[in-house]
């Protein structure tokens, strides 16, 4: 393809073309190393992107400022990587990792998050100019210089949040960085939006910290037995289940046939407990304490006459719920409604309710409830 470049820029373009395979190799290697390191450190980001600058994009750059560059290696974004994080504090975590795995050219690196004037808009990202490190000999901290050309070329690594990325994309798309000078009133509106997005980013980070603290508080309350102070929710119920509150009743039931207890998730029972009006983990614990003996009787009235020697770890909670429904006067319809929540609505739930009604009818807790 032909571009309108002066001889110096034509030379730079030819250097680029010769360097292209090395640039591709560098981009892939830098990307793989970064991805692996972020994964090993447990940092989950929304995206890691990489690209080698396209020829037409380079031509545009050279047309504008080609005289600035002596050789093609003076251009630092022939290879570009971008890491997009969820939260603003993660940008600094990613930066710490990048500093460890790549050599940073501090002279040309810039934190564009700090650059913008107070009265101008600007909502950008952290840009590092990097090189791949030279390989090290085993047991030796000294880098071992090689002639590998991928080690000679610098590349740009941008780190930004998802909102910063949206800002950058939208403003690029609306052309505010384009040729036309933007009137001051529009600049002011962009500035306000940038400020709002920065506030949103900071607020997300703050909320994340607050929620993590809250979770730790709940876990501590559960661990220390202050269950009446803990509202019933998915998170608190999960913490409660870590205490294995149904284990004793499961083992008691399983002992009837010396049954194996097959582990199963109990989270699907949370909507049932909420439908019972339980508001705290204390309510759930009282429900267990008040109904365990009757739940045991109901369970063994079904199992004892069989030789079934495997039961689910949900057996205890299942029978506790059945007993609660019956003691509350829910009757057949209450049992069917319970099975509809647990199993999904199906006509067979009516049959299950009938079986339980029949078996429970002879049990002591059902006196005066028929």
């Amino acid at each position: 393809m032909k571009y309108d470049l002066d001889p110096h820029c034509e030379m730079l373009m030819q250097q680029y073309r010769d360097l292209r395979p090395t640039l591709e190799k560098l981009a892939q290697e830098a990307y793989s190393l970064l991805r692996q390191e972020l994964s090993e450190q447990g940092i989950y980001v929304t995206a890691i992107e990489y690209r080698v600058k396209k020829e037409n994009s380079l031509a545009g750059k050279l047309e504008l400022k080609g005289a600035k560059y002596k050789t093609i290696q003076d251009i630092t974004d022939l290879v570009g990587l971008r890491v997009i994080t969820f939260f603003s504090d993660e940008v600094d975590k990613v930066a710490a990792i990048v500093k460890r795995i790549f050599d940073i050219d501090w002279q040309d690196s810039v934190d564009k998050r700090k650059l913008h004037e107070l009265d101008s808009f600007g909502y950008n990202s952290l840009h590092y100019i990097c090189r791949l490190k030279e390989p090290q000999l085993p047991n030796d901290e000294t880098p071992n210089p090689t002639n590998d050309p991928t080690r000679q070329i610098r590349f740009e690594l941008q780190m930004r949040t998802a909102l910063q990325h949206v800002w950058s994309t939208i403003t690029h798309d609306t052309g505010y960085k384009g040729d036309v000078k933007i009137p001051p009133e529009y600049l002011r509106q962009f500035s306000r939006l940038a400020g709002m997005m920065e506030l949103i980013d900071d607020e997300f980070s703050r909320l994340r910290i607050v929620l993590n603290d809250y979770r730790r508080q709940i876990q501590s309350l559960v661990k220390n037995g202050h269950l009446d102070e803990v509202p019933l929710s998915a998170g608190s119920f999960r913490s409660f289940l870590d205490l294995q509150p149904f284990r004793r009743l499961n083992m008691r039931i399983a002992a009837v046939n010396q049954a194996e207890i097959y582990p199963a998730s109990l989270m699907s029972f949370l909507p049932v407990l909420e439908s019972f009006g339980f508001e705290t983990l204390g309510d759930v614990q009282h429900f267990i304490d008040d109904n365990s003996d009757d739940a045991y009787q109901l369970a063994i009235s079904q199992l004892a006459i069989t030789d079934l020697d495997i039961v689910s770890s949900s057996t205890a909670l299942l029978n506790l719920c059945l007993v609660h429904v019956l003691k509350s006067g829910g009757g057949r319809e209450g049992l069917k409604a319970f099975y509809d929540i647990i199993n999904g609505e199906t006509p067979a739930n009516g049959m299950l309710a009938d079986i339980i009604m029949e078996q429970a009818s002879i049990l002591s807790f059902m006196e005066n409830k028929s």
């Binding site: 689910s312 057996t315 199993n343 079986i355």
Partner: protein, 101 residues
């Protein structure tokens, strides 16, 4: 006595269980359902329309099929269960672990 038939139907693997899956029938059923562990990219339907009884051993076979399918990202559906067999699932607490059609 049990008869087990494995077939492909509408992109799913179907295991038809007919008869009584009691303890004595477990070894032959375990062999017969081996193709279900070898399929990839297909959901599994266990047709229990003509299944008259299921023992603990039978439940274990179904649980094993379910575990393997979940690991591969497939679903297992149990179809056509009689009241007696459904009652076994209910009293052992497995009625909400399987998906029933």
């Amino acid at each position: 006595m049990i008869q087990t038939t494995i077939k492909e139907e509408d992109g799913n693997m179907v295991a038809v269980l007919q008869g009584s899956l009691d303890t004595a029938a477990v070894p032959e059923t375990e062999k017969a359902v081996l193709p279900l562990y070898e399929c990839e990219g297909k959901d599994i339907i266990i047709d229990c329309t003509d299944l008259t009884y299921i023992s603990s051993g039978g439940l274990r076979i179904l649980l094993s099929i379910l575990q393997d399918a979940e690991r591969k990202g497939h679903d297992v559906y149990i179809k056509g269960v009689s009241n007696d067999v459904r009652a076994v699932f209910a009293m052992t607490g497995f009625v909400h672990i399987f998906k029933f059609k």
